[in-house]
Symmetry: C2
Subunit: 214 residues, 2 copies
């Protein structure tokens, strides 16, 4: 397998964790989102993924896009070390937590959106940082309430094994910390973050441990 | 089952289509996103879903949130009329199309984001409409390319049965049309939209056919 990734992309980080949890080897192909006007927008990359987004997983020529779709595919085709619970209600809970991050927080704060705010709407850096922190802090408050008042939360988001929800949560915390978002209102989130970061699959997948890290 | 829904919410619309395709009856509980300062933000509703978002599905007291998680749950627990293909690669493709809408288009254009742009950043209505159309038009162009150059696209997004990708696509087209976004660059998308709208499950689930329609 080949993974097209950018070290700082949190969607790429999610897939790296999933691959690591399952012990799957892959070739790392770096796509630099800032160099050359964005390598993800070059014709060569867009012929792989017309969306111009990382990550992309290439399995023997089969091109997979969208991090959550890739992770569900990996979980279906390599069921060892499952990333979703065995019961439908549990899967619904884990997917809802994952989507509360992947649909409600992350899309508002990715590079192309921040660029539109700066370049097209002309907002200041201060306003851009406030925008960033607003969506991270309110979004994580929601995730905190999904976790803190539910007996199914364990060492990880759902019980005693890390899975899809943790895979989405940890990259979001890295982003939050990079933008100096407030995190003291989400103690359960941070406890789970610390538990995950003690696992090599999470720590080794972190941005600064990638071949293209700067 | 009870569905907490707002007629114009496209995430609610998605779940209504899924329920209709599977022939599942439900009680419709209207949550008005604009009245009373937003009924979704009232304590009563937030005790159900702390995110303050519709839809919510209540199945015998089990509370399910996030439209895609709800739909996957319905598909797992009521496998008749499947909404995902039977092969893992097909499921990955359908989920990627669904997520290209649910993660890349919809989150940028929902009510709370538009409110932030107007109220906190003070942008004009003209700028807000341009923002809206920018993300819909570029996002749908990506979806068009995922559909138009793939032999697996049929009458619907994936073959000859409507499924999760169509369920996400059609509400997004309703939104695009409401905001007068350009759609002439996405002919495959619009062909599929027309095919879906000929099906009662889609037509009956449309905003103006809901009990709380205005």
């Amino acid at each position: 397998m080949k993974l097209y990734s950018y070290f700082r992309s949190s969607a790429s980080f999610r897939v790296r964790i999933a691959l690591a949890l399952k012990g799957l080897a892959y070739d790392y192909l770096a796509v630099h989102l800032l160099k050359d006007g964005g390598q993800q927008l070059a014709a060569e990359f867009k012929s792989l993924n017309s969306a111009g987004l990382v990550p992309v997983l290439d399995e023997d020529g089969a091109i997979l896009t969208q991090s959550l779709a890739i992770i569900e595919y990996l979980d279906e085709t390599r069921p060892q070390v499952p990333l979703l619970p065995s019961d439908a209600a549990g899967r619904a809970r884990v997917r809802a937590i994952a989507l509360a991050i992947a649909c409600e927080i992350h899309p508002l704060n990715n590079l192309r959106v921040l660029n539109y705010l700066s370049k097209t709407l002309g907002i200041s850096d201060e306003q851009k940082n406030a925008w960033y922190c607003h969506w991270v802090e309110t979004g994580l408050a929601t995730v905190e309430s999904m976790l803190s008042d539910n007996v199914l939360t364990g060492t990880y988001c759902h019980g005693e094994s890390p899975g899809l929800a943790d895979i989405c949560l940890i990259p979001q915390i890295f982003n939050a910390q990079r933008f100096k978002a407030k995190l003291d209102h989400v103690p359960t989130v941070m406890r789970i973050h610390e538990a995950c970061m003690r696992l090599p699959a999470f720590a080794d997948s972190a941005p600064l441990n990638q071949p293209d890290a700067e």
